[in-house]
């Protein structure tokens, strides 16, 4: 029982990071209706920026700000140089999917050229583990969970209470109708990408901190899990995505800790990605609109 609660604690940390990454992804999906496959590279760039700044200044808050800013700028660049022009050119969502996969490939390789493909160790003293309620968390874990909660609360305030949030929701629901009412959809989308990039860049920083190392490919691996969370929660829906992220994050930590029935032993954590995709395939096949809607399955085009 105690061990189960411990893994649940780790699950909450994973879920917090996943929630940040997934909500950023789903915001981008909402305003453009296309999946940005290079989303993972925003996290990677956030991690590199944080690492470089941390090395120079030795200050973690500065590193966090650098990660967020780098993420925001790269996301804005992705929108204005690739995704936006493709949308205006009338490309289909699948074509943009392929194009952003190409962008992701380019960014990974550029990072390899400049920083090498080897693991970069990013060790921060996580602090001694302490009892928090039923869980055993260290100071770093606490910071991650608290910051995730604060950031999402701020995000929901922005989405639900500000004028920009209203425009964002309008563009997400119906781009054409939003334009008819005088909203500059392109500008709203660009601003949304910047906002999503800030969050994703920060997520890259905390992910690197919590894992302790990163490579140019690390964001892409996490993107695959992000995608599972976002699809499970319903693509383009912020609240559903948050819940999806919490569920997927906890499953990913808890399932490998369960004994395998009949055979005995444990599933290695290396199968994480396989587990995530098994969940993803099941969700897409049976609840393609996400876990939290009553819509029946449909053919997607």
């Amino acid at each position: 029982m105690h061990a189960a609660l411990l893994t649940l604690g780790f699950g909450i940390v994973t879920a917090s990071i996943l929630a940040l990454s997934a909500v950023a992804f789903t915001l981008q999906y909402g305003v453009t209706n296309v999946a940005n496959v290079s989303h993972g590279e925003i996290l990677t760039i956030g991690a590199y920026a944080a690492y470089l700044v941390h090395q120079r200044t030795g200050s973690a808050p500065a590193a966090a700000i650098a990660a967020a800013l780098a993420g925001g700028l790269i996301a804005l660049a992705m929108y204005s140089s690739v995704i936006g022009p493709f949308i205006r050119f009338g490309a289909s969502p699948t074509v943009i999917f392929i194009a952003t996969l190409g962008v992701s490939f380019v960014i990974q390789n550029v990072l390899v050229i400049f920083f090498g493909a080897a693991n970069v160790a990013y060790n921060i003293d996580p602090g001694a583990p302490q009892q928090v309620g039923p869980f055993l968390l260290n100071a770093l874990d606490e910071q991650i969970v608290i910051s995730a909660v604060v950031i999402t609360a701020a995000l929901f305030f922005i989405i639900s209470r500000t004028k920009f949030g209203k425009a964002l929701r309008a563009v997400s629901q119906n781009r054409e109708l939003a334009r008819v009412t005088g909203i500059n959809a392109t500008r709203v989308a660009a601003a949304t990408f910047f906002l999503a990039g800030l969050i994703a860049g920060y997520a890259g920083f905390v992910l690197a901190e919590s894992v302790g190392s990163f490579t140019p490919y690390f964001g892409f691996g996490f993107f695959l899990i992000t995608l599972t969370a976002a699809v499970a929660g319903g693509l383009g829906r912020a609240v559903g995505t948050m819940v999806g992220a919490v569920i997927v994050g906890i499953i990913l930590e808890v399932v490998p800790a369960l004994p395998v029935p009949f055979v005995g032993g444990y599933i290695s954590a290396s199968y994480n990605l396989a587990i995530a995709f098994a969940i993803l395939a099941l969700v897409i096949l049976f609840r393609p609109r996400g876990l939290f809607t009553s819509a029946r399955r449909t053919v997607f085009e």
Binding site: S92, V95, V106, N109, F114, L224, I284, F300
Partner: protein
């Protein structure tokens, strides 16, 4: 120089078979399938475990037979087709567009993780090796003459696949696949069984992938998870896209161009150390490989944006049959 030329041509022929298989799935049927490299890997792994005999400890893998190479290739292709049948029957039934791509991406990562982590299958991360010069001793070939033999074999196989694909391209089946790409609803209205047709095309493409994988395994003599990664498929996609999606002549042109880029593009990189980056060394193999990858990704994005039909676009089929004249628009009442 000769060794280099042989290597490039052999790789090109194998790469060409891979691209022709992908063209069935993406070029004709129109599905952006990310699991494709998985079928190549299945073909390669199966060929090795069927030819190299039982595992010697500490290595472990399934099957471990010593079949003759051609027979092993046949079984490897069948296995790749079976895997594709499973993935395709799940992914093609209801899913299109990015949902199809996401599920196939999931499928290939499951394959990748299992191949790399589940040791009893294909010896995990270590992978398989020991497939030296298959069929070489039948003809009494030494190491050097074998290179020529294998080059000839690859080219003949490529020519064979090209010939068969050019027949399929203009067959009813090839045409029917294209109608699915253009307008699935219209094809259904004309009585096509969309799901079965797409599945057939998918398995045919995967068979070519598995076949190319079987040749690739013999060329590399070994196969492990560092020899393939799911994103390698981008290189194949850029070849099909650059040449002309759906047009097999275009696909071959694309393979030639991408082969040229993969092998030669880094020759002209400036050998300048960039300021402030001590690790930057344009001669380091890792940097060269990354530069190629970056160029390939860039080519993919630019072609999608500015020339999505490729250099040799697919010919549009025009109905020239005089039997049913188009309905003349009624003259406007003046």
């Amino acid at each position: 120089m000769t060794t280099y030329l042989i290597a490039v041509l052999t790789e090109g022929a194998i790469f060409g078979i891979m691209a022709l298989g992908l063209n069935v799935i993406w070029g004709w049927s129109g599905d952006f399938d990310l699991a494709y490299y998985g079928y190549i890997a299945v073909g390669a792994y199966m060929t090795i475990v069927l030819t190299v005999g039982p595992p010697v400890a500490p290595a472990q893998y399934i099957i471990g037979q010593s079949l003759p190479y051609p027979l092993a290739v046949v079984f490897a292709v069948i296995t790749a087709m079976a895997v594709a049948l499973v993935v395709g029957s799940i992914a093609l039934r209801h899913l299109r567009g990015i949902y199809f791509s996401i599920v196939t991406l999931g499928a290939v990562y499951v394959m990748y993780v299992f191949a790399g982590q589940y040791v009893p299958l294909f010896d995990g991360y270590n992978g398989l090796s020991g497939l030296f010069d298959p069929m070489g001793d039948w003809f009494g070939l030494d190491y050097f003459s074998y290179q020529y033999f294998f080059l000839g074999l690859s080219l003949v196989m490529f020519a064979l696949v090209y010939f068969v694909m050019s027949r399929v391209s203009s067959s009813r089946f090839g045409m029917a696949l294209r109608t699915l790409r253009e307008d699935e609803r219209a094809a259904a209205a004309f009585g096509r069984d969309i799901y079965r047709l797409k599945l057939k095309g998918y398995v045919l493409g995967a068979a070519l992938g598995g076949f190319a994988g079987a040749l690739f395994a013999a060329y590399l003599t070994a196969f492990n998870t560092s020899a393939w990664s799911p994103v390698e498929v981008i290189v194949l996609y850029s070849a099909v896209l650059v040449g002309g999606r759906g047009n097999i002549r275009g696909v071959v042109l694309g393979v030639l161009i991408m082969g040229l880029i993969v092998n030669e593009s880094t020759r002209f990189l400036p050998q300048l150390p960039l300021p402030g980056l001590s690790a930057f060394d344009t001669l380091h193999p890792q940097v060269l490989q990354a530069a190629r990858g970056g160029i390939i990704g860039l080519v993919l994005v630019l072609f999608l944006r500015f020339r999505p039909q490729g250099l040799l676009p697919e010919r549009r089929f025009v109905d020239r049959s005089p039997a049913t004249p188009a309905i003349e628009p009624a003259p406007l009442a003046s």
